[in-house]
């Protein structure tokens, strides 16, 4: 007697959607307004469609001294000008999104906010992909930094990072005042993620403008905690917890700095970086991340093939 094997699905919740980027028609200058998130299941669990296809963001910065030499050496002089770099990334590496780190703000005593504003404007001028901007990490300059980012990107529907517990007001303010969205990062813990989302909501940031970053440890350096945190956040959201029902972004930012990669045989270092990012990113999308970030340009092609193979070329699955 032939039997039927079912997939058991008992979810009730849905993941919210967040839009990044605004086209000319919408008051911005991006080539597209990308929607991330959505869906009502785990990727490939639950029998229904796997949800929206995850996107690849390429990370770059405005002060290459604070970036991995593996990348800066490969990219060449272009890294000294954020606008040039942005243009090159878009033309050559072709990610889905750009994630721009204002690493210049991390220099001690940074105060040059007018330059900062020009830098963001330049990156916007030289690129067309929806943009994620990472501001300062120092509370002392948060207020001015995020005001710059918010203003310079007005109308562009940026995704701004990064809000943390105890350091979220300026990012939230920039998002609310200038129509952007916020990355909310908590240290690998489902309850802390929820708490931060509640704080943001109370400040006035609506749910459809929050992207959860559960913090992604590099492979071998706590990645397993992040992997499970992502699964648990998604799980809680599907069970109906609206304070966790936002799309997630994952970036194992330390991947290129860890010993295994940094101290790899020089002939293999580039490949080591790519594999480290690839294994992490593939695992993150299967754990529920909607955006995965990479820093090595050569990670993009194999990662895209994997995502295409999982979600289909056109994505969406449905």
């Amino acid at each position: 007697m032939p039997m039927k094997v079912d997939i058991i699905s008992e979810w009730t919740g849905e993941i919210g959607e967040v839009t990044i980027g605004a086209t000319k028609k919408e008051g911005g200058s991006r080539c597209a307004a990308i929607v991330i998130g959505g869906g009502s299941g785990f990727p490939f669990l639950g029998g229904s469609a796997p949800g929206r296809k995850p996107l690849i963001a390429f990370e770059f910065c405005d002060d290459p001294k604070l970036w991995s030499p593996i990348v800066t050496e490969l990219e060449g002089d272009v890294v000294n000008d954020a606008g040039d770099w942005a243009a090159r990334v878009e033309e050559l590496h072709r990610p889905d999104l750009l994630r721009f780190y204002l690493t210049s703000t991390r220099r001690r005593g940074f105060q040059d906010f007018s330059q900062l504003r020009r830098t963001v404007e330049e990156v916007l001028e030289r690129s067309t992909l929806p943009l994620i901007v990472e501001g300062s990490i120092d509370p002392a300059i948060d207020s001015e930094t995020f005001l710059c980012c918010g203003e310079a990107g007005e109308g562009e529907r940026l995704l701004l990072g990064t809000a943390e517990e105890g350091r979220y007001r300026s990012v939230a303010a920039a998002a609310m005042a200038y129509g952007h969205s916020v990355i909310a990062q908590s240290p690998i813990d489902v309850n802390l993620a929820k708490q931060l989302n509640i704080l943001l909501r109370e400040t006035g940031v609506p749910h459809d403008r929050i992207v959860i970053d559960p913090y992604t440890g590099a492979l071998g350096y706590g990645f397993e905690y992040s992997y499970s945190a992502m699964e648990r956040i998604r799980f809680a959201a599907l069970k109906g917890d609206e304070d966790l029902a936002m799309p997630m972004i994952s970036s194992a930012i330390d991947s290129l700095n860890i010993k295994e990669v940094r101290e790899a045989d020089p002939g293999q270092r580039g490949e080591m970086a790519v594999k480290w990012e690839l294994y992490t990113a593939v695992s993150s999308v299967i754990a529920g991340a909607s955006v995965v970030c990479v820093r090595h340009p050569e990670t993009i092609v194999p990662l895209r093939s994997a995502i295409d193979s999982l979600w289909g070329k056109t994505g969406g699955g449905d």
């Binding site: 997939i7 990645f223 295994e260 690839l278 994997a306 193979s309």
Partner: protein, 444 residues
């Protein structure tokens, strides 16, 4: 629904005879509930209890051992769908494929690589597990030659991959005593393959397209007396694999379809995207992964991912206590106290490296607890620190006597000074602040 320890205890004879090896029936019940004991160990169980307990305490996924000796491994015995629910128990074996079309030396290059290649992480040796010998010649002689070539170089676990039972038997006649995995029985050849599995006492992989026919085939194979099974959902693409593997795992752990309660076999070479397939295999339920020869970077990333995913989420990975060096420290370099919770260690190490100041890390044994937890729970205390300074010979490494302790350990600073005789500087609470701390506090 798994039975709780108390429910199991009620069914036990309550004699406390110790014949099962446990001191009391209650202890035995606890172990049964956790899937860590075998019901057969109890000699006084009545039939009814045996029936109930047998079904309920048997792991939903069969435990299968592959290979013999030092490098042999076991897979299966899994209970949960998500690792955070409890833990994943048995990491997948990764076997590198060779072909019987290859000359011996080419085969043996691969064998040597798998035999000797090692990645040392957190005090553990990580290795690939074995060799998959693929029959592409169609010839029993060539196949047995290839198996012999592998056998000549190493005692590694093997998968014999051949569709024809006659060819398979030729391979098994070389290595059948070493419990290789037979691949694969299908609806067409299962009787022959099962007979071989029975004859050589080897685990057998069955392969079918749909989950329904897979469940059917596993029942047939079990009836034919195959001692242990793996199942290959024969996925050709990544999404096909993930979908099927997820469904198998779900139906197995929920015991909805017990005939799917076997470890999963995944041949990643057919996907054309080996790295992604291997990563997904590790994340999503594969127990045996077959792949083509891996570059060192692929291998390292794969072994590290596997180590990560198969870490018990309720038990932090621990570092070995001792002195660790960051950069090339000298006799007046700073010394940082840290705990042996790996995440704490790696985080601090990363920031120390980023600071560019060579220094020492004194890692003490807090049983894997983070600083905050270790301080709260009394695991991190002045006696431990003082003893660790002595035991590690730290005093002969540096000329100064100043120890930088984590910010959260501040309540202990005075006691550590008294107990160790070292001067204590309280560092930042967050490791991200160490560079600034070194600049402001250490240099002055």
């Amino acid at each position: 629904m798994a039975l709780k320890a108390l429910d199991i205890y009620k069914l036990l004879p309550k004699k406390n005879c110790k014949e099962c090896g446990e001191p009391t029936c209650l202890t035995f019940a606890m172990k049964l509930a956790a899937g860590k004991a075998d019901i057969e160990k109890c000699p006084y169980l009545d039939e009814e209890a045996r029936r109930i307990l047998g079904a309920s305490t048997k792991p939903p996924i069969q435990l299968v051992k592959i290979g013999v000796g030092e490098r042999s491994f076991a897979v299966g015995d899994e209970f949960v769908q998500f690792r955070h629910e409890k833990t994943f128990n048995h990491q997948p074996g990764i076997l590198v494929a060779v072909s019987d079309l290859w000359p011996d030396d080419r085969i043996q290059d691969v064998v040597r690589e798998v035999r000797d290649g090692v990645l040392v992480r957190i005090g553990t040796d990580l290795r690939l597990d074995g060799i998959a010998i693929r029959c592409e010649s169609g010839s029993a002689e060539e196949f047995s030659r290839a198996v012999a070539a592998v056998e000549a170089k190493a005692d590694l676990p093997e998968v014999l991959m051949a569709a024809d039972p006659v060819v398979m038997e030729a391979g098994l006649s070389v290595c059948g005593a070493f419990r290789p995995l037979i691949y694969a029985a299908t609806h067409e050849n299962y009787q022959g393959m099962c007979a071989l599995a029975r004859k050589f006492g080897c685990p057998l992989t069955i392969r079918a397209e749909s989950l329904e026919s897979m469940a059917e085939l596993s029942a047939l194979a079990a009836k034919e007396g195959a001692p242990a099974l793996l199942i290959d959902p024969s996925a050709a693409t990544l999404s096909d694999y993930v979908k099927k593997a997820t469904a198998i795992r779900q139906n197995a752990v929920s015991k909805t379809v017990p005939d799917l309660g076997y470890p999963i076999f995944f041949d990643t070479t057919v996907t054309g995207m080996q790295d992604a397939a291997l990563a997904l295999g590790v994340d999503k339920y594969a127990s045996v992964l077959v792949c083509d020869r891996l570059s060192i970077p692929s291998r390292n990333a794969l072994l590290t991912l596997r180590q990560n995913i198969y870490t018990d989420p309720q038990k932090p990975i621990q570092m070995n206590p001792g002195i660790y060096r960051v950069g090339e420290p000298v006799r007046d370099s700073p010394v940082f106290l840290s705990v042996n919770f790996s995440l704490t260690y790696f985080t601090l190490q990363g920031y120390l490296e980023a600071s560019g100041v060579p220094c020492y890390m004194l890692v003490v044994d807090t049983e894997g607890y983070s600083v905050l937890t270790a301080v709260a729970g009394g695991k991190l205390n002045e006696t431990l620190v003082a003893e660790s300074i002595k035991k590690t010979g730290l005093e002969s490494e540096v000329d100064h006597r100043t120890l930088i302790i984590p910010g959260y350990a501040a309540p202990l600073s005075g006691k550590i000074e008294d107990e160790s005789g070292w001067k204590v500087l309280v560092g930042p609470r967050d490791a991200a602040g160490v560079a600034e701390f070194l600049e402001k506090e250490w240099k002055k």
